[in-house]
C-alpha cells in the first residue's frame, strides 16, 4: 500500500524540530491547516488530513476538533475514508464523548454492507469503544451476523458479542444459542471467538454455565485434536498447534469444571495428556502448561493430577527463565494454603529465589517463604529471612519485618530465640517496623522474667553501639529503666555481663535524651527510665534529680510535663512504689485472655471512730510490687476516685495478682470481700470481644460504701465499663453489686 505522502511529510517536519517550542509551532501550523481543510467541501485528501490529526493526537496535543470529521468520514462511501474515519473514532471518540452516539447509525449500516472489510471496520470499532447504548441498539445485528455470514465475519462478530456482554450483562441471553453452534465450525478463528464468547457468558450467568457444561465433551474433542494432530503450518507456533486456542479452551474447561465432579471427571484424561505431552522448552509450551496447571488446581481433579500439576510448578521453579519462575511462585502462593505439603517440598528453591536480582521475583519469594514457615523449619527459615532483611530492597522491608515477627511469634522454639530475633530485626530494619512492635516487645520481655538479665545486657550493648533506630532505643531505654539493677550487679548467666557503674548507665540514658536523632517519644522513654532508676540505684539519685529538673523547662510539652511531675514525686515521697517493676501482663492475641487485676486497699488512719463506715477500695494497677506484701500505705495511688474513709477493722492487704482464666473462681482478697468474675464462652464470642461480669459481695460485718472498680488495660485493648448496679455493699452478703466490662481487642499483628 502506498504511503500517505502528506502525512509522512508532516511527520518528518515535526521530527526535525529541535526544541519543544519549535515542535509546538509546527504542530500549531499543521493543525490550523487541517482545520481549514475540514471546513472545505469534499476533497481527495480528507483521509490524509485526519491521519495527520491522529498523529498529532498521539503526540499528546488536543485533537477534539477532529471528532465531527471522524463522524463524517465514517459515513463516506469511500473505503479509504471509512478506514481512517473508524480509526479516528476509536482514538478520539470513546464512549464518554457525546459525538460517539452519532456514529451508531453508520455502524449499523456498515454492518450490513456487502463488503466484508467494511463490515469488519464496523465490528472492530463497536468492540473497541461501543457504549452500553450502542451495544443495546446493535446487538440484534451482531446476533444475525453470528448466524449467517462467512467465517471472517463470524469470528469478529463473536468477539464483538463478547464486548456487548461485558457492557450489558443481560444481553448474554441473546447470544447463547448462536455461540453453541459456532463451536462446531472448522475455522480456528471462529472456534476461538466462540470459546471466548462462551467463557464470557458462563462467567456472567450461572444458569448459562449449567447449560454449557454439556459442551465439555466437545471441547475435550477439539482440544485432543489440537494436541495430537500433526504439524499444521497455519497455526503452529514452535511445535504447538494453535496455542492461543488451546489456552482459551483450557480456561473454559476450568470454568465449567469448577465445583462440578462430573465435568471435572470428563476432562481429567485430557488434562493429564496435555500436561505430559506439551513441550516445555519454549515459552509457548510453558504458556499452555501454565494454563493447564491453573485449570487442574481449580477444578475437582483427582489427586494424581494435582500432584502432577504441582510438580510442573516445581519444574518451573528450576527454569532458567525468570518469567517462568515468577509465575510458578505466583501459582504456588495460591495453593500454599490447600496443598501446603506439596509446596513445602520446593522450599529450598523458593528460598534461593530470595537472592534473585529482580524485585518482583524477590517479592513473590518473600510472600511464599513466609507462608512456608512452620514449626519444623523455623530456625533455618529465620536465618534466611534475616539475611534477606539486611539486603532487601527498601519497599519490601516493612513487609519482611512484620512477616518475621508473625512467624517468630507463632513458632518461636524458645523465648530467648524470640527475643534475639526481634532484637536482630530492630537493629537491621528498625525504621521499618510498625508502631505496635515496641509495646509488643516490651510485653514479651516483661513476661520472660528469667531472661530479664540477658535482655537488659543485650539491649544495653545495642544502645552503646547505635542510638539511631528509634524502636530499638525505646525498648532499650525501657528495659534499662525497669531492670537497671540487674545491669549493675555485674552478673549474668546467659551472656557476658557488663561491668558498669551507675554513672555509665545514666550517661547512656542522657545521651539518648540529648541526641538530635531521638524522637520526642524516645526522649519520653529515656526520661521515664532515668526516673525509674532512682528507685533502683543508690548513689546517684541526686544526678537523676538534676536531670529531671532540667527537663522541667524543656520546650517539648510532653517532656516538660513528665519532668515536672517526677520532680513533684521526688519532693513528696521517699519511696515511690509507682516506679516498681511491672507485673506480668498476659494478653494472648487471639482468643484467650488473662486479666490481672491487682487490688490494694488504701486506707488512711485518721482516727475517726467507726463502726459501719465504708472504706474505699481502689483497684489500682500501678501500685504493685513483685512481692505480695504491702504495708498500709499513706500514699494515695494516682487517679483514685473516692476519698479514703477510715475503717474500723484493719484489713489485711494483699497486693494479690488475680488470674482469671476459666472463669468462676471466687477469690477472696480481704477476708469477707468477694469478687467473682464470669465471662462468656470464648468460642462463641465474636472475634476480639470479651464480656466479663463482675459480681462483688461483702460478707464482713460492716457495710462498704463508695465501692468503685477501676481497671486499666494495655493499649491494644479497649475497655468499656458499663454502669455498676450500685456502689454500696451491705454487710453479710445481703446484696451484690454487679458490673459489666467489655473488652475489645484491637489489631493483633505487630
Amino acid at each position: 500500500m502506498s504511503p500517505s505522502v502528506p502525512l509522512q511529510e508532516m511527520i518528518r517536519a515535526i521530527r526535525s524540530a529541535r526544541t519543544q517550542c519549535e515542535e509546538r509551532g509546527v504542530i500549531q501550523r499543521e493543525c490550523a491547516a487541517i482545520r481549514a481543510q475540514f471546513r472545505q467541501a469534499d476533497n481527495g485528501g480528507r483521509s490524509h488530513n485526519l491521519a495527520k490529526l491522529l498523529y498529532v493526537h498521539m503526540l499528546g496535543y488536543p485533537a477534539h476538533f477532529g471528532q465531527m470529521e471522524c463522524v463524517r468520514m465514517i459515513a463516506s462511501p469511500r473505503y479509504s475514508e471509512k478506514r481512517v474515519g473508524y480509526l479516528g473514532a476509536m482514538m478520539l471518540l470513546d464512549e464518554k464523548q457525546d459525538a460517539s452516539l452519532l456514529i451508531t447509525n453508520s455502524i449499523k449500516n456498515d454492518l450490513s454492507n456487502s463488503n466484508q472489510y467494511i463490515q469488519s471496520l464496523a465490528l472492530c470499532t463497536l468492540a473497541c469503544m461501543g457504549s452500553a447504548e450502542m451495544c443495546r441498539d446493535l446487538a440484534p445485528e451482531i446476533d444475525r451476523l453470528l448466524r449467517a455470514s462467512n467465517s471472517y465475519i463470524k469470528k469478529k462478530a463473536a468477539l464483538c458479542a463478547v464486548h456487548i456482554v461485558r457492557k450489558v450483562h443481560d444481553l448474554g441471553e441473546l447470544f447463547t444459542k448462536a455461540a453453541r453452534s459456532l463451536l462446531t465450525e472448522k475455522n480456528h478463528g471462529v472456534v476461538h471467538g466462540a470459546v471466548v464468547l462462551i467463557t464470557e457468558l458462563c462467567e456472567r450467568n450461572s444458569e448459562t454455565l449449567e447449560r454449557f457444561r454439556k459442551t465439555v465433551p466437545d471441547l475435550v474433542q477439539i482440544m485432543k485434536g489440537l494436541v495430537i494432530s500433526g504439524y499444521s503450518p497455519d497455526h503452529d507456533v514452535a511445535g504447538i498447534s494453535d496455542p492461543f486456542l488451546q489456552v482459551r479452551i483450557l480456561r473454559l474447561l476450568r470454568i465449567l469444571g469448577r465445583n462440578n465432579e462430573a465435568a471435572s471427571d470428563a476432562m481429567n484424561d485430557l488434562l493429564a495428556q496435555v500436561a505430559t505431552n506439551t513441550d516445555s522448552t519454549k515459552t509457548v509450551g510453558n504458556a499452555v502448561l501454565y494454563e493447564t496447571v491453573l485449570t487442574v488446581l481449580d477444578i475437582k481433579s483427582e489427586s494424581g493430577l494435582r500432584v502432577l500439576a504441582v510438580n510442573i510448578l516445581g519444574r518451573f521453579l528450576l527454569n532458567n527463565d525468570r518469567n517462568i519462575r515468577y509465575i510458578a511462585m505466583t501459582s504456588l502462593q495460591k495453593i500454599v494454603g490447600t496443598d501446603h505439603n506439596a509446596v513445602q517440598r520446593h522450599r529450598g528453591t523458593i528460598v534461593d529465589c530470595l537472592k534473585d536480582q529482580d524485585a518482583s521475583v524477590k517479592r513473590r519469594a518473600l510472600e511464599l517463604s513466609l507462608a512456608l514457615v512452620s514449626a519444623s523449619n523455623i530456625r533455618s527459615m529465620m536465618k534466611e529471612l534475616l539475611s534477606f532483611l539486611s539486603s532487601c530492597p527498601p519497599e519490601l522491608r516493612s513487609q519482611t519485618a512484620s512477616g518475621i515477627f508473625n512467624a517468630a511469634e507463632r513458632y518461636a522454639p524458645s523465648q530467648r530465640w524470640h527475643i534475639d530475633t526481634i532484637l536482630h530485626v530492630l537493629t537491621t530494619a528498625g525504621g521499618d517496623v510498625r508502631d505496635e512492635t515496641v509495646p509488643n516487645l516490651i510485653q514479651l520481655i516483661t513476661n520472660t522474667s528469667e531472661l530479664h538479665c540477658y535482655t537488659v545486657h543485650k539491649l544495653y550493648r545495642a544502645l552503646l553501639s547505635d542510638i539511631s533506630q528509634q524502636p530499638l532505643v525505646q525498648v532499650a531505654c525501657w528495659c534499662i529503666g525497669e531492670y537497671g539493677d540487674l545491669l549493675l550487679t555485674g552478673e549474668c548467666q546467659e551472656t557476658e555481663p557488663v561491668q558498669v557503674t551507675e554513672d555509665y548507665v545514666l550517661d547512656v540514658l542522657e545521651t539518648v535524651l540529648q541526641s538530635h536523632m531521638s524522637s520526642p517519644s524516645t526522649r519520653g522513654f529515656a526520661l521515664t527510665a532515668t526516673m525509674k532508676l532512682s528507685t533502683r540505684i543508690t548513689e546517684n539519685v541526686d544526678r537523676i534529680r538534676s536531670i529531671v529538673s532540667i527537663y522541667g523547662s524543656c520546650i517539648d510539652v510532653e517532656l516538660q510535663q513528665r519532668a515536672v511531675e517526677y520532680n513533684a514525686l521526688f519532693k513528696k515521697y521517699d519511696h515511690m512504689s509507682i516506679l516498681d517493676i511491672f507485673p506480668e501482663l498476659f494478653l494472648d492475641k487471639v482468643y484467650s485472655v488473662k486479666l490481672s487485676f491487682a487490688y490494694n486497699n488504701n486506707v488512711q488512719s485518721a482516727g475517726l471512730s467507726p463502726p459501719l463506715c465504708g472504706v474505699s477500695q481502689v483497684c489500682d494497677l500501678l501500685d504493685l510490687l513483685g512481692g505480695s506484701e504491702q504495708p498500709l500505705q499513706p500514699s494515695p495511688a494516682l487517679g483514685s476516685a473516692a476519698p479514703p474513709i477510715p475503717v474500723s477493722a484493719p484489713n489485711t492487704v494483699g497486693g494479690d495478682l488475680l488470674d482469671l482464666l476459666g472463669g468462676l473462681e471466687p477469690t477472696p482478697i480481704t477476708p469477707g470481700l468477694t469478687f467473682t468474675y464470669t465471662h462468656n464462652e470464648l468460642q462463641k464470642q465474636e472475634t476480639g470481644r470479651l464480656t466479663v461480669t463482675l459480681t462483688a459481695s461483702n460478707s464482713t460485718e460492716s457495710d462498704i460504701r463508695g465501692f468503685t472498680l477501676q481497671a486499666a488495660v494495655p493499649k491494644s485493648v479497649q475497655l468499656h465499663m458499663k454502669a455498676p448496679s450500685g456502689d454500696s455493699l451491705p454487710a453479710r452478703g445481703t446484696a451484690k453489686v454487679t458490673q459489666m466490662l467489655v473488652f475489645t481487642f484491637g489489631s493483633q499483628n505487630i
Binding site: 502525512l7 498521539m58 499528546g60 469488519s120 473497541c128 494453535d242 495460591k334 494454603g337
Partner: protein, 194 residues
C-alpha cells in the same frame, strides 16, 4: 478454629464462607468472576515517546495521559534482565523490548501472562512480515498501518485470528481495497459515461 491461608489468619465461625485472598482456588459454595481482559496496549521508545496506544477500556484523555506517563516511567526504570511481568495498580503489566521499542500490555488479574507474551510476539511478527524487517521508523511513519494490523489481529482486546497467514491476507485485501478507493476516477466516469 483457624486456617492459615496465604499467610493471613482467617477466623472461621462454623458454618461460614472461606475467603481466599488473591487466589482463584476456592472451595465449594463460593463464586467469583475470573477476569481476563486486555485493558490496553502501549508501544513506546526508549526515550519514552509514545508510538502506538490502543485502549480497550473507556477512560478520559487526562486519565490516559496519566496512566501512560506513569507506566512508561515504571517500565523504563526496569533493568534489562528483569522479569517481564510487573504488578502495577490492580493490573498486571506484561512488557517486552524489541530493539528500541517497548511493547507493553495491561491485563487483568487472572489472565495468563505467558500467553500475553506470545500475543505481543505474534504482533511483532506480523509487523515484521508486513513491513519487511520492521524498525521503529516504519512504525513512526506508518502508524496508521500499525493500527490496521493490530485491529486485524486483536478485536476488543482478544485475539481474533490465530493464523499469521490469514491476518496478513486480510490486511493485503483491505489495502487493495483502499488503493482502489484512492485511484482517481477514470475520465469516462468523470463525464458521466459508465
Amino acid at each position: 478454629m483457624f486456617a492459615l491461608v496465604a499467610n493471613q489468619k482467617v477466623v472461621i465461625d462454623w458454618p461460614c464462607f472461606w475467603v481466599v485472598l488473591g487466589g482463584s482456588f476456592l472451595p465449594r459454595g463460593v463464586y467469583t468472576v475470573l477476569l481476563f481482559k486486555m485493558q490496553f496496549m502501549l508501544l513506546f521508545s526508549r526515550q519514552g515517546k509514545l508510538r502506538l496506544q490502543k485502549w480497550y477500556v473507556p477512560l478520559s484523555d487526562k486519565e490516559k495521559k496519566k496512566i501512560t506517563r506513569e507506566l512508561v516511567q515504571t517500565v523504563l526504570a526496569r533493568k534489562p534482565k528483569m522479569c517481564s511481568f510487573l504488578e502495577w495498580r490492580d493490573l498486571k503489566i506484561v512488557y517486552k523490548r524489541y530493539a528500541s521499542l517497548y511493547f507493553c500490555c495491561a491485563i487483568e488479574d487472572q489472565d495468563n501472562e505467558l500467553i500475553t507474551l506470545e500475543i505481543i510476539h505474534r504482533y511483532v511478527e506480523l509487523l515484521d512480515k508486513y513491513f519487511g524487517s520492521v524498525c521503529e521508523l516504519d512504525i513512526i511513519f506508518n502508524f496508521e498501518k500499525a493500527y490496521f494490523i493490530l485491529d486485524e489481529f486483536l478485536l476488543g482486546g482478544e485475539a481474533q485470528e490465530t493464523s499469521k497467514k490469514n491476518v496478513l491476507k486480510a490486511i493485503e485485501q483491505a489495502d487493495l481495497l483502499q488503493e482502489e478507493a484512492e485511484t482517481p476516477r477514470s475520465v469516462l466516469e468523470e463525464i458521466g459515461l459508465t
